[in-house]
């Protein structure tokens, strides 16, 4: 019983953290039709920045600074690596994303010297508590709540502000939105800013739970979050969140079973199955090609 609860708890908190990353994927994909492979690495870099900044700054200053820097990083990546390729074939942009991911990982290896870095303890959420006999951290409980709050705020932003409307328009039809005078680049930048911000928050939660950061720390959570986004229906924010919780829970359950070595394989098998059976995911909209 206690075991089952601990598995559920870990699944829920994982799911929440994946959700925050998955939103970044799903928003970018919705607008640019680009799998932003570097997103997971932005998440990792956010973690590393926290490690380095807390060494010289108090936590209260470091956290906001990390979020600002993460947002800046997302913005710069978009401007430097994706914007010049706006007219290029989709494959080129994706390759550029892979290149950025490669660069961030190598940079992290260079800076950390490949040594695992310990994430600082954050008072309040790092504390260990016991729920129904299962020990866990406060962050586990905080995560789903925070995710809900952020997602609600984000849906408000998307449905009730001008920039949100612009985002929906661009996602629906890139060219037409452009013709209608929507400043595409600004909208895309906002998307990256929001996505990176959420990744930054996600990294604080994630690394408070799993404290060691290595240059590859971002790649696997990133891929899983992407799978979650696809699962929920790419482009749909509620879809990404639901997908993330499903992926987080199922990962946790598989790890708890005797088939734990296939936990990654299972995630990807799930992805392939959903893509083949229902390519639009749980909440995605159907798009037909015109001849």
């Amino acid at each position: 019983m206690q075991y089952a609860i601990s598995i559920l708890l870990s699944g829920v908190s994982l799911g929440g953290q994946y959700a925050l990353i998955a939103i970044g994927y799903t928003m970018v994909y919705g607008i640019l039709r680009l799998i932003n492979f570097a997103h997971g690495d932005v998440f990792m870099v956010a973690g590393l920045m926290m490690v380095y900044l807390t060494a010289s700054l108090p936590l209260a200053a470091a956290i906001p600074l990390v979020l600002v820097l993460t947002v800046l990083l997302g913005f710069v990546i978009e401007r430097a690596a994706y914007k010049p390729l706006r007219e290029a074939p989709r494959m080129s942009v994706m390759i550029s994303a892979i290149g950025v991911s490669y660069l961030l990982q190598n940079l992290a290896t260079y800076i950390t010297g490949g040594l695992p870095q310990m994430y600082p303890e954050i008072p309040g959420i790092s504390k260990t508590i016991t729920i129904a006999g299962a020990p866990t951290k406060v962050v586990t409980v905080v995560t789903p709540v925070l995710v809900l709050v952020l997602v609600l705020a984000l849906t408000q932003l998307i449905h009730h502000t001008k920039v949100g409307m612009a985002m929906r328009a661009v996602a629906k039809d890139f060219e037409t939105a452009q013709l209608m005078g929507i400043r595409i680049n600004a909208v895309i930048s906002v998307t990256f800013v929001v996505g990176s911000f959420l990744a930054g928050v996600g990294s604080v939660l994630y690394f408070t739970n799993y404290q060691s950061i290595v240059p590859l720390s971002g790649s696997l959570p990133g891929l899983r979050a992407f799978v979650a986004a696809v699962f929920g229906g790419i482009g749909s924010i509620p879809g990404a969140v639901v997908g993330a919780f499903i992926i987080g829970l199922s990962e946790s359950i598989i790890k708890g079973s005797n088939w734990s070595i296939f936990s990654d394989a299972f995630t990807f098998a799930l992805l392939i199955i959903i893509l083949v059976v229902k390519p639009t995911g749980l909440f995605g909209e159907k798009v037909t090609d015109k001849v």
Binding site: P84, L85, G99, Y102, L103, Y110, A269, L275, V276, P279
Partner: protein
Amino acid sequence: MKQTSKKSTWMTLLFVAALLAVVVILENVLDPNKNIMVFTALKKGAVYALVAVSMNLLNGFTGLFSLGQAGFMLLGAYTYAIMTIPAAQRDAVYYIYNGSAINFSLPELFGGGPVGLVLGVIAALILGGCVAAVVAWLIGLPVLRLKSDYLAIATLGFGEIIRAVFQWDKLGPVTNGANALKSFPTFSNFNIQNAGGETVLRLSTFMAFLLAGVCIAVIVLLINSTYGRAFKAIRDDEVAAEAMGINLSRHKRLAFVISSFFAGVGGGMFAMFANQAQAKTFTTAMTYEILLIVVIGGIGSVSGSCIAAFLYVAASEWWLRFLDAETFIGGVKVPLLRNGFRMVVFSVVIMIVVLFFRKGIMGDKELPDRFNRRRKEGAAK
């Protein structure tokens, strides 16, 4: 038109033959230890060239963005290794599992000795390709219906699944679980030794070039055949291709299977190069490396992929190595140089290529095209 194309075919053949001859001569004339870097880089370059060309067949010529190359290489590498480890060595290699489930080795089945070695190695490589091809056929059924980036992510996931399966200890008696497979024939086994055990003729680099060369030649022949033209039609415009009677699913699967076949052969050759086969080597990072080679060489150019493979290997693992070492010039430490800096510089270079030289080295042209054009321009003047 016909004449010139025939001529350029001959020129290419001649060029390749000359290249092979140069490789043999160099390998036997140069001091093998002082210049081992050259030959190691050449061998790895040859292997990567083949894999990059096979990826280009899919990504560049058929327009299918697949990221499963490392997975297919893994299949080829394991098949090759399992088929060629000498029976006597099996207990030592599979020491954790108290011996292997498979107790024959192809070179020995073919009678051992030099003939058995050559036949066995070639048969095992082809078998490796076939295993990769069969798996590609199976996963191609569902996956190839997906569009561009979904296909990419699905094949990427497939690579991860394959890796997990091969690392599964229940399959240990066949795959050796997490342990590396080793002791199988490598390129060095093709160096001819005299009775005293001295090497009289070095053919290891030559073998790598020959095998990769033959495979690449077959791919080039395919690309220039009616099927290759159909692939290009699919890449350029799927709807038009289908309207002109090209069966999309059949041709896509064909390209996928053939590409995987050669990735499998390339994987077998990679095992020969790396002296061991271990699932954890064949990561997504490896696929990315190969993809970057394809991009640097030019998507849709076979010769570009070949040139880029050698450049990439040489640059990343040889020429830029000095960036990793802390260096003093006149007693002053050069800033930034330290372990890991090489890869940072390298990835910046890659980003610059991706962003500003999007066509890569060759664009979608081939080497002979370039010469032909120059000749034409010369004639025009």
